[in-house]
């Protein structure tokens, strides 16, 4: 059985570098991507967005390619988004959903990798509850792997679509004050966004109760606040994260209602931000908890745009990885 512990030191280094030596083969996380590579993905997403805004939302670019969408965690929007992205590019898609309860992690991933190999897949999209699972899969098979969320680690395509949406709205990321509010500790969306936004020159501020912040996160080049009021002043972007209700049972917050009162984004708090500030949320939304109804449905929310842009950005990633690079 292949486990992380069973790898040689050299293999382990390579593993934890997140594919740094093969920068273009996989899309595992934004930590391993350079600003140049991120921009390349975003540039190619622009024509992809044109394709999906036409009547005929299909181009023949990936005809004859097979994309396996492998989800070990429940998800609707990310899975559907990847599936649509592949279909708009004329690839064939196969959905595999595995229930977490019946899965013995390392072993089953190895078996699955063998199956995927045998099926002749040209690319695999993987969501897995364990951090590093896509990196392991990338080592086991010789086709590109896209991380669609691994544990509390990274969710690169979500951050890429957030950044794409910001670029459309604001032109450039340089100097933008971006405030991320919510459960940073458990959020792979926050982690990927912190990597991506700081690489592109945004000024990133985090707001969360101390129990929902990872220790030492300041070293990532971000400013940490515990009260939203002090962070929101003059912000250009407010990114709200979903509060997972089970966090209360773990004793990390006193109550959902108290969290909503202290950290929920309402109209009064949003008034502290710049008049042209936009509000983002990766979904699904807990209305009345982390975001008030009137803000989620208000004119400054770009939440539905994020969903549309997600398809375009994923098309770009599929295109770049499937057709290979660097000749």
């Amino acid at each position: 059985m292949l486990t992380i512990a069973g790898l040689s030191r050299k293999q382990r280094e390579r593993f934890f570098l997140g594919g740094k030596r093969l920068p273009s083969k996989h899309c595992l996380g934004l930590a391993a991507l350079s600003a140049k590579e991120i921009n390349e993905i975003l540039e190619n997403a622009v024509p992809m967005k044109q394709v999906i805004s036409r009547d005929i939302k299909k181009v023949p670019a990936l005809r004859g390619k097979t994309v396996v969408v492998l989800f070990y965690e429940p998800s609707t929007r990310t899975r559907v988004s990847f599936e649509l992205a592949a279909k708009h590019l004329s690839a064939d898609t196969v959905n595999v959903s595995a229930s977490t309860s019946s899965v013995v992690k390392g072993e089953s991933l190895v078996d699955t990798a063998r199956t995927i190999k045998a099926l002749g897949a040209d690319l695999v999209v993987l969501r897995h509850p364990s951090a590093g699972a896509p990196h392991l899969l990338a080592r086991l098979i010789d086709v590109p792997v896209i991380n669609a969320g691994d544990g509390m680690h990274e969710h690169p395509t979500q951050a890429l679509l957030d950044i794409f949406t910001l670029r459309e709205r604001k032109g450039t990321l340089k100097g933008l004050k971006v405030v991320i509010i919510g459960d940073i500790l458990h959020s792979r969306v926050a982690r990927s966004n912190i990597w991506g936004l700081t690489k592109l020159g945004a000024d990133v501020h985090l707001v969360a109760p101390p129990t929902l912040l990872p220790a030492g996160i300041e070293r990532a080049g971000v400013t940490v606040h515990h009260r939203p009021e002090e962070a929101l002043v003059d912000s250009d972007v407010v990114m709200v994260l979903r509060l997972q209700r089970e966090r209360q049972r773990q004793g990390l917050i006193p109550g959902v209602r108290e969290y909503a009162r202290m950290y929920g984004l309402n109209a009064a708090r949003l008034a502290l931000a710049r008049p042209d500030a936009v509000v983002m949320h990766p979904g699904p939304i807990n209305r009345g908890v982390e975001i008030a109804d009137d803000v989620a449905d208000g004119s400054r929310a770009v939440i539905t745009e994020q969903v549309t842009n997600g398809v375009a950005v994923r098309m770009s990633v599929l295109y770049l990885l499937t057709l290979g690079r660097g000749a």
């Binding site: 540039e43 190619n44 622009v46 024509p47 992809m48 044109q50 394709v51 036409r54 009547d55 005929i56 299909k58 181009v59 023949p60 670019a61 990936l62 005809r63 004859g64 390619k65 590019l89 295109y319 770049l320 499937t322 057709l323 290979g324 690079r325 660097g326 000749a327």
Partner: protein, 182 residues
């Protein structure tokens, strides 16, 4: 690999005269340009389409809509390239349905680019007709495609390369025939 300039096929005036003639032919063949649109294939079809529109305006006094097409996603060799081709934007800000679309490109060679461009146009709408204007036709077709308007027919061998240079992209206007030297 090195290249040697074998001949200059068209100079600045040659290109200008060829485009002027093509503009006249487009107007004559379509009995005016009321229903016509010009779509340049990226990259060098773009400035050529703009110049044709300018000439048609001088002759007929009416403005023909001009669009630009990136055909990368429609290429038949996309999965064999071994590298990814950078995508550009397609800018066709008008409906093509029931219009006469005149595709503009610099060189007509195998015909595969034109095949891709026709598929791309069809995905934008259902034109009444598609016509093709090419500054140079060098032969060696691999598909049953021909141009409706040709600036210059140039018989070539497959060892030779046609280099179309336009001022907007290359800083000067000329068409060269290059030969590979080992």
């Amino acid at each position: 690999m090195n290249f040697r300039v074998k001949a200059i096929i068209l100079d600045r005036d040659g290109i200008r005269r060829a485009l002027t003639r093509i503009a006249h032919e487009i107007i004559e063949r379509n009995k005016g340009v009321d229903n016509a649109v010009l779509i340049g294939i990226r990259r060098r079809g773009v400035p050529l389409a703009l110049r044709l529109a300018e000439k048609i305006k001088q002759i007929e006094g009416c403005t023909v809509p001009v669009g630009f097409l990136d055909i990368t996603l429609y290429r038949d060799d996309l999965t064999q390239l071994g590298y990814h081709a950078k995508l550009s934007r397609t800018e066709v800000p008008f409906p093509v349905t029931d219009r006469t679309v005149i595709l503009v490109d610099d060189v007509l060679y195998t015909g595969r680019t034109v095949r891709a461009a026709m598929d791309a146009i069809m995905d934008l709408g259902r034109p009444k007709a598609i016509q093709l204007a090419s500054l140079v036709d060098r032969g060696h077709r691999e598909l049953p495609i021909r141009a409706d308007y040709v600036g210059k027919n140039v018989p070539t061998s497959s060892r030779e390369i046609i280099s179309v240079q336009v001022e907007e992209i290359d800083g000067q206007d000329q068409v060269l025939i290059l030969e590979k030297t080992e």
